[in-house]
Symmetry: C2
DNA sequence: CGTCTATTTGAATGTACTCAAAAGCGGTGG
DNA sequence: CCACCGCTTTTGAGTACATTCAAATAGACG
């Protein structure tokens, strides 16, 4: 059952009584996002937290030159949202779409607030998730400041081994902050060095 | 009284009863950090959240070439810690030191956990702070991916107007990810363009 | 006032980008 | 099953943004 994934994710951080689990599940709405389909559009207000069950989503912006820059990937067992927009309920800057057909659970902002009131433990759950995410952005920021493109690529491979061979290379380039052409050349050079 | 600053910061996010405020204050320990003094050393376990009352702290790493890279500044009314180390209680990668004589309040990890149990509202308080911080790192990551050095400098000036004329330029360079020499040249060029 | 650190300047260099074109790959329809 | 189409990846030449290194100047602190 799909609910296993989210319940396990929750129970790793907080303890819930059976009736609390049941209530939580009533707030989650299954949904399918087709490959390439836009789930959140820049300028929209983000009204849901999205939990990925299968497939993969990506959050990205488009800059003034029309280039895409990927902020994050959401493989299974991850939450994704435009945090700025979700928190402030102002129009956001992110697009979120699917790299492949993706099954998700939606938790609306309103229901999330209800959840905090009815089961305060969820404040803790989302605090812990947010802390974990923050730590990973601290690391990423320091990587952007101190590592070369090649080192950032290697760090990406370590952090997301499951994505390396499943998503297009240009998305990895966009995440680590180089052009697809340059990533291609780096990979060639790295192979030549090994031989 | 110094306590005003932290109490106001808290009351902007959650409501506390007078006795709860009083209890909270008993967990905070005033401390002074002298200019250039190291407050947290890489390799140490971070055992406190630190709230800045006056002055300014910085969190940074030193890369394999001995270069410093600044993750964050903590002017008055901000919390700072090595989040990775604080959360995991593993040795961290950050140094934290003072750019000028700085007065802070220390909240130990153990006391913070007590606080969560005694006043669950603080789960909410720190969740909200962490969310806000996460949003700013999202923005910074996207800036690193999509903006030129000059645009990142301008964005920094917008985000931290109070720091531009108070801290050394080389620290700004280290934060936005350029060499001090290059920041100096950018500023010269920006002035010449205006004239 | 002297010393130490920060900032500025310039020349040479390097890393990563742009643009253009070719090659590879996957899916779709004839 | 093959041919074609669109998209991704590769390759190369030329370029730009930012760095490195070295030295001079300016500024801050004791």
């Amino acid at each position: 059952m799909y609910n296993d994934l989210i319940l396990k994710n929750v129970s790793n951080r907080i303890h819930l009584e059976p009736d609390e689990e049941a209530y939580f599940l009533t707030l989650l709405h299954p949904f399918t996002i087709r490959r390439k389909q836009l789930h959140l559009h820049r300028g929209e207000v983000c009204r849901h937290s999205t939990f990925v069950l299968s497939g993969c989503l990506r959050g990205y912006t488009i800059d003034s030159n029309g280039l895409e820059h990927i902020l994050n990937f959401a493989p299974p067992d991850w939450w994704i949202a435009d945090m700025y927009s979700l928190v402030t309920q102002q129009p956001g800057y992110l697009n979120i779409d699917a790299l492949e057909d993706t099954q998700v659970l939606l938790l609306s902002k309103a229901d999330q607030e209800k959840l905090y009131i009815r089961i305060p433990q969820f404040e803790r759950y989302f605090r812990i998730l947010t802390e974990k995410s923050l730590v990973s952005y601290h690391r990423r920021t320091l990587h952007n400041l101190s590592l070369s493109a090649q080192e950032r690529y290697l760090a990406f491979c370590q952090s997301y081994p499951s994505l390396i061979n499943t998503i297009a290379q240009k998305y990895i380039a966009s995440y680590i902050g180089v052009t697809p052409e340059f990533l291609s050349k780096m990979r060639r050079d790295m192979l030549n060095q090994t031989r």
